[in-house]
């Protein structure tokens, strides 16, 4: 069963096209990577799927609910870790999680138990009563991910979750993503770290200038390029470079 479906998503801002007909679907329990250069449309895709932005055209369904017409149902079924760790600086780790749980309609007793579980799972037990503003970047990232899991969503959107983290924090987060995958959570992951995508993702979509140019497994992507024994990075560079050139020629030819 497809848990996430994006069908012909377009997003236009006046004269700029951020997304140009993005389509893909993600199966239950799959980790789906969205790779692309800066400004390719990865975050815009996640913002549309999260109900934060309305698409200009196209349709997106999460667990069968339309993101535009049923935003509340969609938001109940997803957890989102945005690019920036945007929890409340003046609340403690525990209070941030409790606040998130309460807005998902959870009962206070249940949310307190869940918050303590997550604080422990993400290695923040000692920081339970520390203000969010006093945490390191890695800890902030972990708590942001914990907050996105407080209501036990079946779908998780991770927008560059390990960007800016030190080696150990990034490794720790990747291990958590692996464990979430094993629990059957469907994950959409955007990242700049190709190796991370290679290790974590079942399938990868490469997006360039608002268009998805290929969707396949990491192994198939490596085999699809001309380089012998190509790494995923080689494949990414070859695919995105070639496609950017083709798009440029297409635009030039259209003038």
């Amino acid at each position: 069963m497809d848990t996430v479906i994006a069908n012909g998503l377009k997003k236009n801002y006046n004269f700029f096209t951020a997304l140009d007909g993005v389509s893909f679907s993600i199966k239950r329990g799959e980790v789906f990577g969205l790779l692309g250069p800066n400004g390719a449309g990865k975050t815009t895709t996640i913002r549309i799927l999260s109900g934060l932005l309305k698409p200009s055209f196209g349709k997106a369904l999460i667990m069968g609910n339309d993101v535009v017409s049923k935003p509340v149902e969609v938001k109940k079924s997803i957890g989102v870790v945005p690019e920036t760790s945007n929890l409340y600086p003046e609340l403690t780790c525990f209070d941030n999680l409790v606040f998130a749980g309460r807005l998902y309609g959870m009962k206070l007793e249940k949310v307190k138990i869940k918050a303590d579980e997550l604080v422990a799972l993400f290695g923040l037990k000692e920081k339970r009563n520390v203000l969010f503003s006093k945490l390191s970047s890695g800890m902030k990232r972990r708590l942001t991910m914990a907050a996105s899991l407080i209501h036990e969503p079946p779908v998780l959107f991770l927008d560059e979750p390990t960007t800016g983290l030190d080696v150990m924090s990034a490794r720790n987060l990747r291990e958590i993503i692996q464990s979430l995958k094993q629990k059957g959570i469907t994950i959409l992951l955007t990242t700049h770290y190709i190796e991370e995508a290679d290790r974590l993702c079942d399938r990868i979509a490469i997006i360039v200038k608002g268009r998805i140019i290929v969707i396949d497994t990491p192994e198939a992507l490596k085999k699809s390029v001309s380089t012998v024994n190509a790494s995923l990075e080689d494949a990414f560079v070859e695919i995105t470079g070639l496609q950017s050139e083709l798009m440029f020629q297409e635009k030039e030819g259209g003038r």
Binding site: K76, V80, P82, F99
Partner: protein
């Protein structure tokens, strides 16, 4: 509906905990109206008492809008507002929560001011129900104005500038110091377009003074209309940003 009100309550509670009821904000929030009151008392101690309802309205106006414009604009800048929008709550619910937080802060500050005044002056609230309704509905209207100002701009300083654009004419034209009937005829329509006018008028009535504009119940209805209009405009602007 119940879930939405519950969520709005948690948002208001969070705002009070994280922003409003921090010691510097409380002391600033109380100090400002006290200085205001003291200045007018020292200027004219004899005719001071009739000014009290208007000064309480001013305290509500500044108490609600000052911090609220900073809070909402700050949360929009830091991405915390976007975080709120990721939860399964509507834009209306988020703004109702924000407005409730601002209104409660304004009411708290004004009540502290009123308690202080009760100790010093022979004040008499002749209609407690009207007084309570005026305080609550006025603070909701002013807080909704604060929300409207905050969602219409991008930066904190822009919010303060726009808020002052609304607030300062109100100080002079809404019957706090000069009765609306004593204003030049050309300025009276401006006074009637300001929520503070109706707040001052209904609060004056609750202290036993003759209402100047209309029946106090009608003033409260107008204040409710201001609340609904500012709230609706704020929701529309917020939703517009999503498209």
């Amino acid at each position: 509906m119940k879930d939405a009100l519950r969520a709005a309550f948690f948002i208001a509670l969070k705002d009070m905990k994280t922003y409003y009821f921090k010691p510097p904000n409380i002391s600033w929030g109380i100090l400002f109206p006290f200085v205001f009151v003291l200045a007018f008392y020292l200027r004219n101690p004899v005719d001071f008492l009739p000014l009290v309802p208007g000064l309480l309205s001013l305290s509500l106006l500044f108490g609600t809008t000052s911090m609220e414009t900073i809070v909402i604009t700050f949360e929009r800048m830091t991405g915390a507002m976007e975080r709120l929008m990721l939860y399964p709550v509507s834009t209306l619910t988020i703004l109702v929560g924000k407005i409730a937080g601002g209104a409660l802060f304004g009411i708290s500050v004004t009540m502290i001011l009123l308690l202080g005044l009760f100790f010093i002056f022979p004040l008499n609230v002749s209609n407690l129900l009207l007084f309570s309704a005026s305080i609550i509905i006025s603070s909701a209207a002013f807080s909704a104005l604060g929300a409207f100002v905050s969602v219409a701009v991008k930066q904190v300083f822009e919010a303060q500038t726009l808020a002052n654009f609304f607030r300062f004419p109100m100080i002079f034209l809404s019957g706090v110091f000069i009765p609306v009937s004593a204003l030049p005829p050309s300025l009276r329509p401006v006074a009637y377009a300001m929520p503070l006018t109706y707040s001052v008028d209904s609060l004056k009535a609750s202290f036993g003074y003759q209402p100047e504009i209309m029946h106090p119940a009608a003033s409260l209805v107008v204040l409710l209309l201001f609340t609904v209009v500012f709230l609706a405009l704020s929701v529309k602007i917020m939703k517009g940003r999503m498209s």
